[in-house]
């Protein structure tokens, strides 16, 4: 059984511009203790997918119109709000892109971590605080006993993201959803945070859904990669397969736009290359395959019908007319 399985998820935004299909029939699963990379350009629906799982979308304008999110054998979309709240933070937790604004400015970081523990672990105040300090030590924040009394504005971006990770992992959840956890940070700090997450993942056995628009981030960390474009999955495969033998023209484009990251087959130097064109608006998606205006391999059929996701073997799925 999969740890988390998202099946035919459709999350739409109902706005005055029309219906935005931010997540349109997305299916993938996350296995126990696995790191899964969810990759795609800005606006392709990565965050909305994650927020759908966490039920953190504002409804309206958002609405989950179809699908199942299977966790622990039951469909989270059919569970009561109370059930969901018991799962959030305790068994599935999330860290966000913006460490600067994701912590509450008027409470100490110790308080914010301890709050999680006293809520889910039924601990007394003092014990929650001690565990919070332990967690801060685990994420390698120096002098954690002292830092626990500090407010977010007293910490640097990297330190705040460490505090967020400490909070997210405080109750030892089975799943950690990390939505672009390093995008807002300096390059050196990025590497430290990713290392830290991987180290803790090995220690706790947490499964991680690592969302990023940067294939470089998932290259060394993820076992499998899901590539999204305009709300749909265009390719899904093991990390090695994505890097060695990408099938979808979009995935190839993403890889070519990646600076040399020292991945084996990528060590031959190539000029940096951007995918041409821009991501179309959700409210005016092109007919047929939504990638066709930017696609170097476009065919006549691409302009008329949308391709289906097909399994081309070895757990490699791709949604493109090149692979009928």
């Amino acid at each position: 059984m999969h740890l988390l399985q998202i099946k035919n998820l459709k999350t739409y935004f109902y706005t005055t511009d029309g219906i935005g299909k931010a997540v349109d029939d997305v299916t993938f699963s996350l296995e126990k203790s696995e790191t899964l990379g969810l990759v795609g350009e800005s606006g392709c629906g990565k965050s909305v997918t994650a927020l759908s799982v966490m039920r953190l979308l504002k409804e309206p304008p958002a609405r989950i119109v179809n699908g199942q999110i299977l966790f622990d054998g039951t469909d989270l979309l059919r569970r009561t709000k109370k059930d969901i709240k018991a799962i959030l933070g305790k068994r599935i937790s999330m860290i966000f892109q913006e460490p600067m604004t994701s912590l509450n400015p008027v409470y100490t970081i110790g308080d914010q971590i301890a709050e999680m523990l006293s809520l889910h672990e039924d601990l007394a105040k003092k014990q929650s605080w001690e565990r919070a300090v332990d967690m801060l030590a685990k994420v390698q924040i120096p002098s954690p006993e002292k830092r626990a009394y500090e407010y977010p504005h007293q910490l640097s971006g990297g330190m705040r993201q460490r505090a967020m990770i400490a909070m997210a992992l405080a109750c030892n959840p089975e799943i950690l959803i990390a939505d672009e956890p390093t995008t807002a940070l300096d390059v050196t700090v990025q590497a430290q945070i990713i290392d830290l997450m991987m180290q803790l993942k090995n220690e706790f056995g947490t499964a991680i859904l690592l969302i990023t628009h940067d294939l470089g981030v998932v290259a060394q960390t993820a076992e499998r990669i899901v590539v999204m474009y305009t709300g749909k999955i265009v390719e899904e495969a093991e990390t090695l397969a994505i890097f060695e033998d990408p099938k979808h023209p979009y995935t190839r484009g993403l890889l070519q736009s990646l600076p040399n990251i020292g991945y084996r087959s990528f060590s031959r130097r190539q000029p940096l290359h951007e995918i041409e064109g821009i991501v179309p608006s959700l409210y005016g998606l092109p007919q047929g395959c939504s990638f066709h205006p930017r696609c170097p391999d476009v065919m006549a059929i691409c302009r008329q019908t949308a391709p289906k996701l097909v399994d081309i073997g070895d757990n490699h799925n791709v949604q493109c007319h090149l692979y009928p």
Partner: protein, 312 residues
């Protein structure tokens, strides 16, 4: 800590400023106070006699220093009308006003903050619209009108509450009973502004990333709204509560007249009608002092609410 000390030290010059303004009330108005008190047809001798008796013939700076020192020592002078010490009279009136102001403020905060939160949680819902209508009524209805409506409805028609007087000192249930209608009159007036600020401030905060974080922790909605959101939204709300205190005080003055209650409001109106300058000055000073204290409290609350202010 230094923030508190800094703020307290700032209180002293403000206080001197207020005393100066109160002093100027008497002297900035054209013409001699004597003619205003004694009337147009007073003889030159009686005017001279009046001015000498009150020291108004001395140089202005001398009078000013005298005024500040006597105010600083709690000497507000004697009433022209009764000859009693103004401070003693004020001490008698003050409790009635404090009761009304406090009760009015509490009602305004409960209605304003309560409705504001409910409105912000479900914007554009039925409750939100009802809340906004109530706020609009609160802001736009003058106290003499809302006071009258309350008197007619709950005083005369239903007979639930007395409509005149503030009750005897010491009889607590009676005082509270008589406080209900005037307190609602005053509170309702102020609740509208508070409600609107609470709503907009909460709406802004509820959009912040850390609220999404709070929900992602699995916290109950009420905890997210009241603990995580309200504390962040509180600074503009506290500011507006502090600022609307002025309106609340003037509403209190009118309300005391409508309900024929004792208090500073009625005292001030009488003092002005009788051209009793020392009484009016003393009263204005006490009212200003209340305003200053509220401002001080507001600033101290900022420090409690926001660590960034405390550490600045």
């Amino acid at each position: 800590m230094t923030y508190i000390i800094k703020r307290l030290l700032l209180f002293i010059p403000t206080l001197i400023g207020v005393i100066t303004l109160v002093f100027l009330i008497l002297h900035a108005i054209p013409g001699s106070p004597a003619t205003r008190v004694l009337g147009e047809f007073a003889t030159a001798e009686s005017i001279a006699e009046f001015e000498r008796r009150l020291g108004l013939d001395r140089p202005l700076i001398e009078q000013y220093i005298d005024f500040v020192t006597s105010y600083a020592t709690g000497d507000f002078g004697e009433s022209y009308r009764t000859g009693e010490e103004v401070i003693d009279q004020l001490a008698l009136e003050l409790p009635y006003t404090l009761h009304l102001v406090t009760a009015g403020m509490i009602i305004a905060i409960i209605i304003g903050v309560g409705l504001g939160i409910v409105s912000a949680i479900k914007p554009n819902s039925l409750l939100d619209n009802i809340g906004r209508i109530i706020a609009l009524l609160g802001v736009s209805m003058p106290v003499f009108w809302s006071g009258m409506i309350l008197i007619i409805l709950f005083g005369l028609k239903l007979g639930w509450f007395p409509i005149i007087g503030a009750g005897d000192t010491g009889d607590v249930p009676d005082i509270l009973h008589r406080l209900v209608l005037p307190a609602f009159t005053v509170g309702f007036l102020t609740s509208g502004v508070i409600m609107r600020m609470t709503r907009s401030s909460m709406l802004e905060v509820l959009d912040q990333d850390y609220i999404r974080t709070a929900f992602s922790k699995g916290l109950a909605d009420t905890i997210v709204y009241l603990k995580h959101a309200l504390k962040n939204a509180a600074i503009p709300i506290v500011t507006v509560i502090g600022l609307s205190f002025g309106g609340l005080l003037s509403g209190t003055v009118l309300t005391e007249t409508i309900f024929a209650r004792h208090g500073l409001g009625k005292f001030l109106v009488d003092a002005i009608l009788w051209k009793d300058y020392p009484a009016a000055q003393g009263c204005i000073f006490v009212i200003s002092l209340m305003f200053l204290v509220i401002n001080l409290i507001t600033d101290l609350i900022y420090g409690v609410l926001d660590p960034r202010i405390r550490h600045a």
